[in-house]
């Protein structure tokens, strides 16, 4: 009690010092006067009375000092003293201080910026209640790949499992929506009724879906996002009159979701799934699934249960084959959303961590140089009685000042850094909107700065205060012995710096070479001068309605061809690199083998020699010309191929080679009806070049192309090859669509935009890691230069003596360069070993090069040796020019 109270009293004393000092003076003055009075009373003369009193009282100043120590908290006071002194020292060496602070700011800022991305994307919990209880459920294919769920399989999971409080399936797509304001292409999700329960949310207005809303043939209902409600429904509190026309059908708006809820990403409208009935096939994988675990159920338990159900389905289902699930898996939703982003981001974090280490090494070297300059100061302080602990504290305090100021500046810089990273980041990086400098990121930056401070401070303090400081005094300030020790440490630091830089630059080099290799891949199509126009008509099933849509597209294409500058117009279900095509199993069969029943198809599907797997692409003949996909043999679609003539297909070269080895596929017939419910056989009439459909770094997909006018579909991308300005083509095309049907929205872009977005994530990594590599290289060069220059300046006398004794300038140069080279080669050797060990972590991000690519290693080593030698050469030249007369007078 007493001690706590006295702590606060003393804490207060720290800040009321000067007043208390005056009071004590008054008190002691009074004490003295009383003493004099007493002495006078004893009969002393006034002079004698005062003299005696002063003698008795003793050292007033000492009393004051003891009093002061008692008054405040000496620890805090010495801290403040250290801070003041440290700040003064730093201010005196302004150049050193600015360089050290900026270097630390760079390291800490870059690390903070990257950490904020890692935190926002990977670590920050999803913004849902108990979000760690929300799981994703996937089927696993026979190749153990995750896949979406087939409707009957989902139903079995839902009905037979007990692990989930709620489980729901969802799919999303882009549709035309009108009725609110302008017709727009909007992202919608088709969800099963428990969808919101999984996320633990409820509509803020209106009601959630009920089981009845999801029944086949129920009146169409829709939930809208908060943003959509504000913007397109004018925040109307009365939903009873709110209707939206979605893909031609009228939906009643029944509820508004809370602000901030956007799952799946970018979706504004949620519709009940399967209003037209479910797909009874266990091999049509149409939906993703999410579930909320019941209390007390672990992920492993849920996983075990779902997996058991899946294997039961696999063993008992009548639909066997590659497309039937083999197993199933339950993983946390957060992991499934960020899974692909994880390893590139962690590589980035590693890279920036290396950069920070290189920056710290530079500052450590600066501090070390500073410390040896300050040897005399330390020696004097030590001689005057400063304990070693006190000196260590002084260094720690200075390191803290540097790191905290550097960290503060770094965080400021990180705000811009994060904005830059977000702008640069590939669109497919999930959760990019949650990346910001948040409180946890600030805490991280603070801890990081503290760690840097402790590391740097402890290192320099122990270096500087080890050994007998008084020797420094004896050496008359030349400090040769101590200096040589710290020189060696400096060289070790530089070697470490070179090693780390090498690892970083090798990483950047490997990624850069991968990007170059990817760009060298022949995509199989042209990219330039193509305007893409996404148009989706309401989804229809009736063959007559489908045929009408084909006629609509035909008219549209004819009109688009008349736009000045447009040379060719094609249409395709999806452009390469733009979301991908559906894939499935087709059957090789002839007309007279066509089974009469669905079961008959099942029987045929069990015959391995009859099936093949390919992407299914709907296109027009001019599409191949627009993209420049070459015809290898046979023909592409033409006037012969009307809706009522025999249906034809064109296949890609790799499919022809793999499915019909040593055979001519042209003339064969296949059945691919599971893709568009059209069982008419397709006759193969041509073979076209391969296309890298899913990305340049992935092998081309075997593809079956069918004719849009034989197999119509509602949503297509029109491709216009044009010499004219994109904007004028776009506005002309928009006008034509308006003219044909004002209710249909379109989305425009250029194919080169889509194409370059597909390289976005690779480019993002190369740019950032390359940037870190360059900075690290500059820092390491500065480090080499600093240590060498410092060494030369310390050895000026010695060099002078050598020259005076007849050393040639060549041998001086060799001596200095030799010293530098030893350091450099040590660093390079460690770096190469480190790189061989560490680049394995980036292996998954590489393309066309191995993690031990000799060319990259050799190139980077040469680059590093070259720059480091250059950094040595300047100080070495200075050493060469040392004038012995000047040098001997030096100091």
């Amino acid at each position: 009690m007493g001690s706590l109270r006295s702590f606060f009293a003393r804490l207060a004393g720290v800040f009321t010092g000067s007043r208390r000092d005056r009071e004590l003076s008054d008190e002691l003055e009074f004490h003295l006067q009383m003493h004099i009075d007493d002495n006078l009373r004893r009969g002393m003369s006034p002079e004698e009375a005062r003299r005696q009193a002063v003698i008795d009282l003793g050292g007033v100043e000492q009393t004051k000092e003891i009093y002061r120590e008692r008054r405040g908290l000496p620890m805090i006071e010495t801290l403040l003293q250290d801070v003041r002194f440290g700040a003064r020292m730093l201010a005196r060496n302004l150049g050193f201080t600015v360089v050290a602070i900026l270097t630390l700011a760079l390291g800490i800022g870059a690390t903070t910026a990257i950490f904020s991305v890692v935190y926002g994307v990977l670590l920050q919990p999803l913004p849902y209640c108990d979000s760690n209880r929300i799981m994703s459920v996937f089927e696993l294919t026979s190749k153990a790949m995750r896949s979406r769920l087939a409707d009957p399989n989902f139903n079995d999971f839902r009905d037979q499992s007990r692990s989930f409080q709620a489980i729901a399936k969802y799919g999303d797509n882009v549709v035309s929506v009108s009725g609110a304001s302008q017709p727009t292409r909007t992202s919608v999700a088709n969800v099963s009724p428990d969808f919101l329960k999984v996320f633990g949310i409820q509509p803020i207005l209106g009601r959630d879906f009920t089981a009845d809303d999801a029944k086949k043939g129920a009146g169409p209902t829709v939930l809208v996002s908060y943003g959509y409600w504000k913007q397109d429904l004018a925040s109307s509190p009365d939903l009873s009159q709110a209707h939206l026309k979605i893909d031609g059908a009228i939906y009643s708006v029944i509820g508004v979701l809370p602000p901030g809820f956007h799952f799946p990403a970018d979706v504004d409208l949620w519709l009940p799934a399967d209003l037209d009935g479910e797909n009874p096939s266990r091999t049509s994988h149409n939906y993703s699934a999410v579930g909320r675990l019941r209390d007390g159920v672990t992920v492993q338990q849920a996983n075990g249960e779902i997996s058991a159900i899946a294997r039961r389905i696999h063993d008992t289902s009548s639909e066997q084959g590659d497309y039937l699930l083999k197993d199933a898996i339950v993983i946390p939703l957060q992991d499934s959303l960020t899974g692909k982003a994880r390893s590139p981001l962690l590589v980035l974090l590693d890279a920036v961590g290396f950069l920070l280490l290189v920056a710290c090494a530079n500052v450590a070297n600066l501090l070390l140089a500073q410390a040896s300059v300050r040897e005399r100061e330390l020696a004097i302080r030590s001689a005057l009685g400063a304990a070693r602990g006190r000196l260590v504290r002084q260094f720690l305090t200075e390191a803290f000042l540097l790191s905290l100021v550097g960290g503060g500046l770094g965080v400021l810089g990180a705000f811009w850094g994060v904005a830059g990273i977000v702008a640069l980041a590939p669109e497919n990086l999930p959760r990019l909107d949650s990346v910001s400098i948040s409180i946890p990121v600030l805490v991280f930056a603070f801890l990081l700065s503290t760690a840097v401070a402790v590391g740097l401070g402890a290192f320099t303090a122990l270096r500087a205060t080890s050994g007998d400081l008084r020797k420094a005094l004896l050496e008359g300030g030349r400090g040769q012995a101590g200096a040589q020790g710290s020189q060696r440490v400096g060289q070790i630091i530089v070697a470490a710096q070179i090693a780390i830089t090498l690892v970083l630059v090798v990483g950047a080099g490997l990624l850069g070479r991968s990007l170059m290799k990817v760009l060298e891949v022949n995509p199989g199509f042209r990219v330039d001068k193509i305007v893409a126009m996404d148009v989706s008509l309401p989804w229809v099933e009736d063959p007559k309605a489908k045929a009408d849509q084909a006629i609509f597209f035909s008219n549209l294409i004819d009109r688009l061809k008349q736009i000045p500058g447009v040379r060719k117009v094609g249409a395709v279900s999806a452009l390469p690199m733009d979301g991908g095509l559906p894939d499935g199993t087709f059957l090789l069969m002839s007309q007279n083998e066509l089974p009469k029943t669905v079961d008959g198809f099942g029987l045929l599907r069990r015959q391995k020699e009859r099936i093949g797997i390919a992407d299914f692409c709907v296109a027009t003949d001019e599409y191949f010309q627009v993209l420049g996909i070459p015809l290898i043999r046979g023909r592409i679609f033409d006037e012969r191929d009307g809706p009522n003539s025999p249906h034809v297909a064109v296949i890609s070269e790799s499919l022809a080679r793999d499915r019909w080895p040593n055979q001519d596929p042209i003339g064969h017939t296949i059945e691919f009806g599971n893709m568009d419910s059209d069982l008419r056989l397709l006759t193969i009439v041509g073979i076209v070049g391969d296309v890298h459909e899913d990305g340049l770094d992935l092998p081309p997909q075997p593809t079956v192309y069918v004719d849009l006018f034989q197999r119509p579909r509602s949503a297509i991308t029109l491709t216009m090859l044009s010499d004219a300005d994109t904007r004028s083509v776009t506005s002309a095309a928009r006008g034509i669509l308006q003219d044909l049907n004002p209710e249909i929205p379109a989305k425009f872009g250029t194919f080169s935009q889509i194409y370059s977005a597909s390289l976005g994530s690779r480019r993002f990594n190369v740019i950032l890691i390359g940037f870190f590599g360059i900075i690290a290289l500059l820092l390491a060069t500065a480090g080499v230069f600093g240590v060498m220059a410092y060494s030369v300046s310390r050895r000026t006398r010695e060099i002078g003596v050598r020259v005076a004794l007849g050393a040639s300038s060549g041998s001086v140069l060799r001596m200095i360069l030799g010293q530098g080279l030893r350091t450099i080669f040590l660093g390079i050797a460690i770096g190469i070993v480190g790189s061989l060990a560490l680049t394995r972590t980036v292996e998954s991000l590489l393309f066309g090069v191995t993690a031990t690519d000799p060319l990259t290693f050799a190139g980077v080593t040469l680059l590093l040796v070259g720059t480091a030698l250059l950094a040595c050469y300047v100080p070495a030249r200075r050493a060469m020019q040392v004038d012995p007369m000047v040098a001997l007078r030096h100091e």
Partner: protein
């Protein structure tokens, strides 16, 4: 060195508290004189410890101080015992008595067995 000072300060604190209890509010000089007198001039109060000691007692809340005028009209700082100080005095006095009693038993030769 610090050990000795602590013991000394411990006894000094007790003397100060006792003096203030018996004399009422008193300034630093008066406390010093009084302690010297009571000790029969065997003790000479070290001024360098008196004022820090008073400060410590004040920080611990056992005494309080205020500026006043002395008998001869000089500005002086007067210390007086607080309630907590009275309690502290009681418990410390008891402890001290116990300590001296124990030590006396050790030191008197006839009780040795």
């Amino acid at each position: 060195m610090t050990d000795k000072k602590d013991v000394w300060q411990g006894t000094l604190a007790l003397m100060v508290l006792k003096t203030l209890q018996s004399m009422g509010p008193l300034h630093g000089y008066g406390i010093a004189r009084r302690i010297e007198q009571t000790s029969g001039d065997l003790l000479s109060v070290n001024y360098g410890t008196l004022y820090p000691g008073l400060l410590k007692l004040e920080q611990e809340g056992y005494i309080s101080s205020e500026w006043g005028l002395s008998d001869n009209n000089r500005k002086a700082k007067y210390y007086k015992l607080t309630r907590a100080g009275r309690k502290q005095l009681e418990s410390e006095a008891r402890e001290w008595e116990q300590t001296t009693e124990i030590l006396a038993r050790f030191l008197s030769p006839e009780r040795e067995s």
